[in-house]
């Protein structure tokens, strides 16, 4: 295949056979319980230097309880797949967890300043390009062709290549597969083995989950395997991809879980103000470092009264129940 142009951005070299070997040796096919605490899951499955991805973002079905545990454990030198994000990368940057990011989109603030001040590395992509790279990884392929990115400066600052299609002889872009080291996906329901259900507009739960070497599921509710088998069409992620199941009610707090609870508007505003003001360090002291666990934070800092109010605020239920 003739390469006509190449972007100069950095990217992890695709390694489908390396990923297969990892799956062969590390991913259990045994139907066994993987339920554990957030602390244990992050200790065992998130390493310094890992490339980390998450599904959705802090305001909606984001795995925010797992973010807080990673920050609490002071993981270092992470790479982040920052697509369809708001304050998500800012929290990790403020926690000094980040070496670099692949940019789809983030909300300007702390993340912007880290770039302006040369504190983190970065490459340019787009939201769809990042989930498409994960799809390639989830298909066991080294790359996939696509009809966008071409001609732009995003192309120049990414790992995209323009090639001549060997079938039609026309120009087409290709992008490298992305296999995450660790993926975080917050779900509505999951059994103890990791069979997980996601409701609502999807973004990319399946691609994010299945392209990763290590997958931590946090779930609002743990259901029985019998329940999963009663409605198998609702299973989004099968258990054999899952390494840890963390029972995390309100795991997306202060963001929302559509159908279950709304966002905590005040707490999101507090995060956004701290992001803009550059005071996320103090914010993390208050919301993360001061507690042993997320359960303790929800209990002492938020309280049952507030959490029930967030549930009551979520009046639209259609489509979010089994």
């Amino acid at each position: 295949m003739e390469v006509l142009a190449s972007g100069t951005g950095s990217y992890r070299m695709p390694d489908p056979d390396g990923h297969r070997e990892w799956v062969r040796t590390h991913k259990s096919r045994e139907l066994k319980s993987k339920v554990m605490s957030a602390r244990e899951a992050v200790e065992r499955f998130v390493g310094d230097g890992d490339y980390l991805g998450y599904d959705l973002c802090m305001v909606r079905r984001g795995p925010v309880a797992l973010y807080r545990e990673i920050i609490r454990q002071r993981k270092r030198n992470l790479w982040l797949a920052v697509r369809f994000s708001l304050l998500d990368p800012a929290l990790f940057i403020a926690g000094e967890c980040v070496e670099g990011i692949d940019i789809g989109w983030f909300s300007p603030g702390t993340t912007s300043r880290a770039i302006e001040q040369g504190k983190i590395k970065y490459s340019e992509w787009s939201n769809s390009a990042m989930v498409y790279r994960q799809l390639a990884g989830a298909m066991g392929l080294p790359f996939l062709p696509l009809r966008y990115l071409g001609g732009s400066d995003v192309f120049q600052r990414s790992g995209t290549k323009l090639v001549r299609d060997p079938y039609t002889s026309k120009e087409i872009c290709i992008i490298p597969a992305l296999n995450l080291d660790v993926a975080l996906v917050h779900v509505y329901q999951c059994d103890e083995y990791g069979n997980a259900r996601v409701f609502g507009p999807g973004l990319s739960p399946m691609e994010t989950a299945s392209c990763a070497r290590k997958l931590i599921i946090s779930t609002e509710e743990i259901v029985s395997n019998e329940e999963i088998r009663r409605q198998p069409h609702l299973t989004t992620i099968p258990y054999y991809m899952v390494d840890a199941v963390v029972h995390a009610p309100f795991g997306s707090y202060p963001g929302s879980m559509p159908g279950l609870y709304g966002i905590d508007t005040d707490a999101i505003a507090e995060t956004a103000v701290a992001d803009r003001a550059g005071t996320l360090g103090e914010y993390l002291e208050k919301w993360v470092y001061g507690f042993e666990s997320d359960e303790e934070m929800l209990d002492k800092l938020v309280g049952a009264k507030k959490l029930i109010a967030l549930q009551r605020k979520e009046t639209i239920k259609e489509g979010y129940q089994a």
Binding site: S126, Y148, G151, L162, E314
Partner: protein, 273 residues
């Protein structure tokens, strides 16, 4: 008849809403003015118009326009959708040609309709002001048949060349520049809507072309707010002002908080004068 007054943002939303056709499909940036334009058109002349956002929501009947941070039920922006798919599916459908129009805003737009939403000042390695990046705009501008761009009329926003092409317009304007970059045939920017004027693009040269002026702006005033000289249509059309009905719906139903529509300076328009 007495006059009406409205903000820059309100005018742009109304002008884009007027472009929405009931039998076309729209891939819309997930929040702000682009989404509000489609919601306004839905409320008036195009109730069943097909629109999608990048998280995979197809033709919802949202109760508010704040797609990212809803004030009430978190499910409100996705309520009564036709389908809940995912981001890759939206891109695949767009690549196949199902989405007629993309609707985007930007930091900068240039004479060939290239848009920047990545940074301002400095260079890519050392930006003075870094912004969020491409988001879904690159795929929208690349693969929708036509792109509608929202950009307030400011000299710093209408650039001869944008500092960084986050999302492609007609690139350098040369024949088949987009096709040579691997983009789908027959796609590209269609309209640029500002608070003073509406622009299109010349079919031959791919250069931005002034099509219409608002009643409150002169040709000179528009040209003063541009870093390049656009082509100018003969004759220039007059863009209609917002209607009272549009403004009422925007203010009472679509953005009652005023957070988005309250932006920018105010215009006063009195048709009797």
């Amino acid at each position: 008849m007495s006059g009406i007054s409205f903000t820059q943002a309100e005018y742009i939303i109304c002008a884009v809403a007027n472009l929405i056709e009931h039998d076309k499909s729209y891939w819309v940036a997930i929040g702000g003015q682009p989404l509000m334009s489609v919601m306004l058109a839905r409320r008036l002349h195009a109730p069943d118009v097909c629109f999608v956002v990048e998280d995979g929501t197809v033709s919802p009947q949202p109760t508010t326009a704040s797609a990212l941070i809803p004030p009430d039920a978190a499910g409100a922006p996705y309520y009564r959708a036709i389908a809940w798919k995912d981001m890759n599916t939206m891109s695949f459908n767009c690549a196949m040609g199902y989405y007629d129009y993309g609707v985007l805003d930007c930091l900068e737009v240039d004479m060939y309709g290239n848009i920047n939403s990545s940074f301002l000042g400095g260079d890519w390695e050392h930006p003075q002001r870094r912004f969020g990046g491409a988001g879904g705009a690159n795929e929208i501008a690349s693969m929708c048949w036509r792109t509608i761009i929202l950009a307030e009329q400011e000299k710093r926003r209408y650039r001869k060349r944008v500092q960084f092409i986050t999302s492609p317009g007609y690139l350098d304007g040369s024949p088949e520049a987009r096709e040579r970059a691997g983009l789908p045939v027959g796609t590209g920017p269609y309209r640029v809507v500002s608070d003073m004027a509406t622009f299109g693009f010349d079919e031959e040269t791919k250069r931005m072309k002034l099509l219409a002026l608002t009643p409150w702006a002169t040709l000179d005033e528009v040209l003063q707010e541009m870093d390049f000289e656009p082509l100018i249509a003969e004759p220039l059309e007059q863009a209609p002002p917002p209607t009272e009905e549009q403004l009422t719906i925007l203010r009472s139903e679509i953005d009652p908080s005023g957070r988005s529509i309250g932006r920018g300076k105010w215009f006063e328009y009195d048709p009797g004068k």
